[in-house]
Symmetry: C2
């Protein structure tokens, strides 16, 4: 009996509550590897290499690009951000499921590169609620909030390109749904690798 | 927001524990309709029309066959057994999921007739455990047990024709898996019918 792992690509706008939902799912399932992104930006206080990010030099990152060892990558404010391919493949071969939490453009890149991956969009229940959540943090200026809302509207327009949509109204319900999606894929006949003896 | 229901076709050999698993799943999910079979055999003591079976006359049953209003049917010991199409379609249109628990040949018929249905095979963890369970009931003769085991081996050979396999080692785990399969299908983008406003 040998099972194959599945790569789940999770995206959704800022304020959809991806972090909370994913934390609950990771606590409720075993055999789940949470992919760690690579970046060339400097670590912030308290950030650990290999935990929060793989902190790389520009040269190291560009070697990964040249060797096609990134599932996706992008450049923001002169720094690279990307998803290393090797650890994901290693965990999939060990029969573990892999979770990537990445922004929309990265998710669409992975979907193209690995069509067998499972794209999941975490959506807020409404734009009004999304605005409440972004304002509720109380840490951003009005300009930043309006900018985030505008980006969120654009990102949500891509929702139908995702296999699954998890609506995060209540975090427990959303976590139960995402956990169910992962568990259901483990039961697919071709993934299960079950032989009755 | 209007969601579409999904038809789940559940099969598995005698002794796999379908009944126990389904009972737990039905208790744990709403919007789930459990299809009631039709038969021409006489009701046994305590059996209620419309609850345990739809009890029909031969003429009524043959009219359903002629009008193609059965999802599948078979004849055993001169009696008909089958799955009425109309109630299943009605509940699917109401956005409810429908569960059919039927034997292997019926399940394969439904799979052909409604390719959008989701076939799930409930398997015992091993043939040794299946034999334990069949013997544990203590109600059957050796001949009947050996016959059931032989049928079970043939049925399990068809397992790979099912989209999902739920291995019923522990009933709670198996019920959690089947519930997850149903919940995951509710989150499929095309079933969810979610529009963000």
């Amino acid at each position: 009996m040998s099972r194959k792992g599945t790569l789940f690509v999770i995206t959704g706008p800022s304020g959809a509550g991806k972090g909370t939902v994913l934390k609950k799912v990771i606590q409720s399932l075993d055999r789940l590897y949470f992919s760690v992104s690579a970046t060339t930006r400097a670590p912030r206080e308290g950030e650990l290499d290999g935990v929060h990010y793989h902190f790389l030099t520009h040269e190291q990152f560009e070697r990964l690009i040249a060797e096609e060892r990134l599932l996706e990558y992008a450049q923001y404010a002169k720094n690279y951000y990307g998803t290393p391919l090797d650890p994901a493949l290693q965990h999939l071969e060990m029969g573990e499921d892999v979770i990537l939490e990445i922004e929309l453009q990265g998710a669409l890149q992975v979907k193209k590169r690995l069509p067998q991956s499972v794209p999941v969009f975490i959506a807020p229940p409404s734009f009004a609620e999304l605005e409440n959540r972004l304002r509720g943090r109380g840490t951003e200026t009005e300009e930043v909030i309006l900018q985030r809302l505008s980006i969120a509207r654009k990102e949500c327009a891509a929702m139908d390109q995702f296999r699954y949509v998890v609506v995060n109204d209540q975090a427990d319900t959303a976590a139960d749904e995402l956990r169910s999606i992962i568990l259901a894929h483990r039961c697919l006949t071709e993934n299960r690798g079950f032989t009755l003896e």
